[in-house]
Amino acid sequence: MVIRLANVSHDYGGHGLLAGVDLHIAPGTFHFLTGPSGAGKSTLLKLCYGELTQNSGEIEVFGQDLRGMSRNALADTRRRIGVIHQDCQFLDHLTLAENVALPFVATGRPVPEADLHELLTWVGLERQANALPPTLSGGERQRAALARAVIMSPDVVLADEPTGNVDWDMSQRLLALLVELNRMGTAVMIATHDLNLIRTAKSQVSARNLRIADNTLQSAGSDL
């Protein structure tokens, strides 16, 4: 089991947001997460990689309880999770290529230049490799974030709205990349508003569709 949430509840001190959420993400599975804006999609993803700590319930990642983990263990766990944050986050003083290679640097490993170049080419950023993040277009930043999330071949990719700023062709390309990873065993969860993306994914991968509504996580396989 990659990620397991059991009866998890969370809110930010105000009215309820997520209540009694159960979620099982097995290795090699593909999940879509939808729900209206403000429903708690980003919150759920943040709980899964430990940026937030749940109010109640249990969250296990790779079989270990996130709450009982030491800080170093949490860092080590995050290395196995590729995260695409909704507000793409970069170090603005480093080039795009350096930002994408950051997971290697931060863990003290040599950067695989060939892989890096191949990946940048796939997401269409080989020309911008030496550009600084503030000079990139919105879509270019999103693609860079995806490249960084997958460069370490993580065990699971959690993508928060990875295609909100890219055109249709590019979103298909990015989806194909994630599907490819998934075929090689990586679990994938994508939070998105783009129902077309979910629909076209159907032909490529058998994905489970989840929806957050009324503070709970529901299966939404049929009504898309």
Binding site: R71, N72, R78, D92, L94, L102, V105, A106, L116, R148
Partner: protein, 295 residues
């Protein structure tokens, strides 16, 4: 376009924290300013040492003994007094003043023609103390028994205020060195806190990609320590240059000697490494605390 690839430039994580961020500039500035002031405080404390030395030398280590006695007894009493002085611990040497010397002492008041020889002048005996000094009260007691006409003048009333002033100047100087060190430590801790706050984004991103606390803290500590070192070196050099060039105190006057002499010029060189060490500790503590607080 011909920038170095990511491996060469980032391999040692040296650029993880932005170099030119204004909070790192802040660290440099603070240590430069503090080091500059520390040079002055150091000069003051070294000089006040020299000053105290000089004042002590001229006044503290001499005393005068005046012996009045009938002409017939003066020789015997002088011998007795000299014997007492010889056996008093803390007295290095004694010397009976010559007639000529007495005349010189009196010249400002009586002119050069005073008939010293025919006057029943008291004998003056100069006493050279050892650095530890002697027990003036004990000596007076013994003298009053064996040579009632002997009066000991240990210059106390001249010496005390000067030595006191030198000591308080010295204390003031060391106090400012201490205060400056504490202020520098506090301000660099603050600067480290600022730097961590300003680079919250850097920390967040590094967390996201699985960097451990030690890695993140290390990047900040390295950057800030280097900045503090650079700033302190600059401040020290400028401060020393100021002393080398500015005529802070004239040749005369008892502020003469405010500055560095000889080997004293080496002392300010200790400031930059000290600042670096302070910065290292301050940043490390601040970084680990901040990192632990924000999970």
């Amino acid at each position: 376009m011909a920038r170095p690839g990511p491996r060469g430039s980032l391999g040692d994580a040296g650029r993880i924290v932005p170099r030119s961020g204004y909070t790192t500039v802040l660290t440099t500035l603070i240590s430069a300013a503090m080091s500059f002031l520390a040079v002055f405080a150091l000069a003051l404390s070294l000089s006040s040492g020299t000053l105290a030395q000089r004042w002590s030398d001229t006044l503290a280590q001499t005393a005068t003994l005046r012996l009045s006695a009938p002409q017939s007894e003066i020789g015997a009493q002088t011998a007795a007094v000299l014997e007492i002085l010889r056996t008093t611990p803390g007295i290095t040497a004694t010397r009976v003043l010559e007639v000529d010397e007495q005349r010189q002492l009196l010249e400002p008041w009586f002119g050069p023609d005073l008939p010293v020889e025919v006057l029943a002048l008291p004998r003056l005996i100069e006493i050279i103390e050892s650095p530890e000094g002697f027990d003036a009260a004990g000596l007076r007691l013994r003298l009053s028994a064996e040579a009632p006409g002997a009066v000991l003048d240990d210059h106390t009333r001249w010496r005390r205020p000067l030595v006191q002033a030198a000591a308080s100047l010295r204390a003031l100087a060391w106090l400012s060195v201490l205060l400056l060190s504490a202020a520098m430590a506090a301000m660099i801790t603050l600067a480290a806190g600022f730097s961590l706050a300003a680079n919250a984004q850097v920390i967040r991103v590094l967390r996201l990609v699985g960097a451990r606390d030690a890695f993140i803290a290390g990047a900040f500590v390295r950057r800030l320590t280097v900045q503090a070192l650079v700033g302190a070196a600059a401040g020290t050099v400028v401060g020393m240059a100021a002393f080398a060039l500015l005529p802070v105190a004239g040749e005369a006057g008892f502020l003469t000697g405010l500055g560095f002499q000889g080997i004293g010029w080496l002392m300010p060189l200790a400031i930059p490494p000290l600042a670096g060490a302070i910065a290292y500790l301050a940043t490390r503590i601040a970084a680990l605390r901040v990192l632990r607080r924000e999970s």
